[in-house]
Symmetry: C2
Subunit: 117 residues, 2 copies
């Protein structure tokens, strides 16, 4: 991972949904791309904010009191401790940043494994 | 900063080069957009990696032994302690992430102020 990272190329290298690929490290964080489709589970991260940048498609980030709808080039940071549920009515490509080791569901027992693309 | 963040709208709100605008906070980091044109100074950050994602244009990140050239949708993380010089031969729009308070030149005496967009 010592060269430039083309996010579209990384995304083209896999098809599986809800399975983030780590494309770079930034300090103690994983920079990841992921393809999502459908509804994720309601969850929260008690120890970290959750960074979402939409690269392609439209993502709803459902919060308990409202919905944040993101298109390409739009981002949102879910503050730590805030329950949220990502919902993609079409396939959505995202850039995510989370501290290395953060379970994507907020719970190690149900989290997707981290794969390096 | 509790709604969605449209990066293009944030970038359209100012014209000044090399003057990062903070658009969100992620844990202890500032998420920033910046417009750059021309050559920056050679510098390094001893305590943090330096995250670059090109949104528009083409950026050369000169390292002492090579050049990393990034187009839209391409990113690079300059590891902490590594000297680098961003060079933009045309106006380039970037997303940057750095720990809050990081001087953009690596030196508080010469750093640009942090402005919230």
């Amino acid at each position: 991972m010592d060269g430039k990272i083309n996010l579209a190329e990384k995304l083209a290298s896999f098809a599986q949904h809800w399975s983030p690929r780590t494309v770079a490290r930034f300090n103690d964080c994983d920079v990841m791309v992921v393809k999502v489709l459908g509804e994720f589970v309601w969850h929260k991260h008690d120890d970290t904010d959750d960074f979402f940048l939409v690269l392609e498609g439209t993502l709803d980030i459902e919060l308990r009191d409202r919905v944040v709808t993101l298109g390409p080039g739009e981002m949102y940071v879910v503050p730590k401790g805030v329950e949220h549920r990502p919902v993609a009515r079409e396939e959505v490509h995202l850039l995510l940043i989370e501290p290395t080791g953060t379970p994507n569901t907020g719970d190690p027992a149900t989290a997707a494994p981290r794969i390096t693309a």
